[in-house]
Amino acid sequence: MSHVDEGTLHAYLDGALDELPFGDAQVIREHIATCPECSARLEEEQQIREDAITILSGALPHVELPPLEELRLRAEATSPPRVPRSGRLHRMGWAASVMLAVGAGWMLRGDQVFPFSSSDGFNVPGQVPSLPPAPPVRSERDGSADEPSEKAASPVADRSSAASVSVAEAVAPLDVQAQSRRQIGDQERLAFAPSAAIVTDPARRVGFQLVTAREPVAFRDLLQEKPSPPVSRGVVELPQREIMVGGIEPVLPNASLVATRSSSDGGVAPQRDEREAPRGRVVSNASRSRGSASFANRRAPEGRDRWQDSGRRRGGVEGQLVVPGFELIFMEAIEVGSAAGGLRVVQRLTPGDTLELLHLPEGVQPSDLPALGDEGLGQFSMSRDGLWVVARARRSGQELEVLLERLDNNR
């Protein structure tokens, strides 16, 4: 046979000949043993190999083994809730850590509006230990951070604040969640997805679910896979006084609250305007003002899931719900009046500056939303297939328009 190349000589020296796919290891060994030229080269390569080993051993640190039990505890503490391996969630890329909070039956009275908290990210303080906090937003007026807004002092906000007490109490035992953060660069992020939790407060008829996953697409699939629960007057009946931690599945059926109600469930169908709006066209520009009343809508097929439907049309819901290129802080299902099926998305534009996207329920228009206070917020609304998306941030209407175009084009 021909002489042995240096790579094979090193494999020979490393005892790895049998791992190589080519040639017969025994033939190579015999050749090296009998060929003077290869034997000489082998000695040379052996010297190089030993030199390398000596050099590398000059940088051997003393390693201490922490108790394995400590690592086990950490692993158990940080384990995300188990879902069946057949679930689509397992096939998702687990890239970023994201949390979805699904609020259900927040308000019972049909004439009240979900208390959008456009400037502070989360409106349930009790969740903070388990959720990535929205950054404080500075007022352009006086430069002060996180001033309580007018909404926060409103009766509606008071109720949400009161409800949050019970949520806080319920979630408090999950101490591990507070430890689940880690510093990545300049940002603190969740190091793992905390357990799912469902908290109900029968006194106020408030239901709240926390479902965790690590990217928006996972939520879409979770929501799509679950059948719609019976819905009565826009309120999902949640188990009372139930606190459940560690299991996603029993929680998820309630998460399909975001589905459009079917005509058979006894719900009140929202009023719809039959006029057609060109898809993707910006119909309303309501920068720094109330939502525009110029509204066009198109009826969606009765009983179909809004997100499913949108996803089929555009080949991916996540591109529609989130402006590409910005970190997703969280999403939550919302109701406006009696209309369920909305989604609120909060993304980080820059450190300390968030973008709020309100995907309004079918039949709801931007003018149905509470008016913006004098918080320096800009607002821009866009109709897509008759479904409105409202963007709010401390940006001009023109900048928000660009952001919504990116949302629409998914780029």
């Binding site: 240096e6 790579g7 050099i55 940088a59 640190p61 692993a75």
Partner: protein, 168 residues
């Protein structure tokens, strides 16, 4: 098949730390990353834990380099310097020599291409050719050639550095 994690831990953790140490050059950080890799392994329970751990460790080290966490490193360096001062009391000459040798090794490794360095460090951590090939994205037949080149370059670079230091 049930994995004996105690055994995997005992045999793999030191190798993992050494592998990571030569990537991040910060022992405390290397220990942290190795622990993080093990925590993930305990959660995921991979079928081939050792190969899985090295893959995760390599990714963690790469992320570490990308995100460039300097704050903790800075603190670690300060701590190390303090420790070094304390250690140096009994035998400063020996510690100085160790630090110099560590620096020479680091310089020599830094002179290698990323792939050559990765393959060499994986081999030095006890990974098989098959595992190295899988992790480095090489054909298994190319592992020996890559190792031969990496070893020669390492030896040459180290020797050059030594000669320069002696000349001073």
């Amino acid at each position: 098949m049930t994995i004996d994690w105690t055994e995997v831990y005992r045999t793999t953790f030191p190798d993992l730390v050494r592998f990571l140490h030569r990537k991040v050059w910060d022992l405390e950080r290397a220990q942290d990353l190795a622990q993080e890799a093990f925590v993930r392994a305990l959660r995921h329970e991979p079928k081939t834990p050792r190969a899985w751990l090295f893959q995760v460790a390599s990714n963690l080290a790469r992320d570490e380099a990308r995100t460039a966490i300097r704050r903790k490193r800075h603190l670690t360096l300060l701590k190390s310097e303090t420790e070094d001062r304390q250690k140096s009391m009994p035998d400063p000459a020996r510690d100085l020599a160790e630090r110099e040798r560590m620096g020479q090794v680091r310089d020599a490794l830094d002179s290698l291409s990323e792939r050559d360095r990765e393959v060499l460090l994986l081999w030095d951590a006890g990974q098989s050719y098959t595992e190295i090939a899988r992790q480095a994205g090489l054909a298994i037949g190319a592992v020996g050639t890559t190792l031969a080149r990496a070893r020669r370059r390492l030896a040459d670079a180290y020797q050059e550095k030594e000669q320069v230091d002696v000349a001073r």
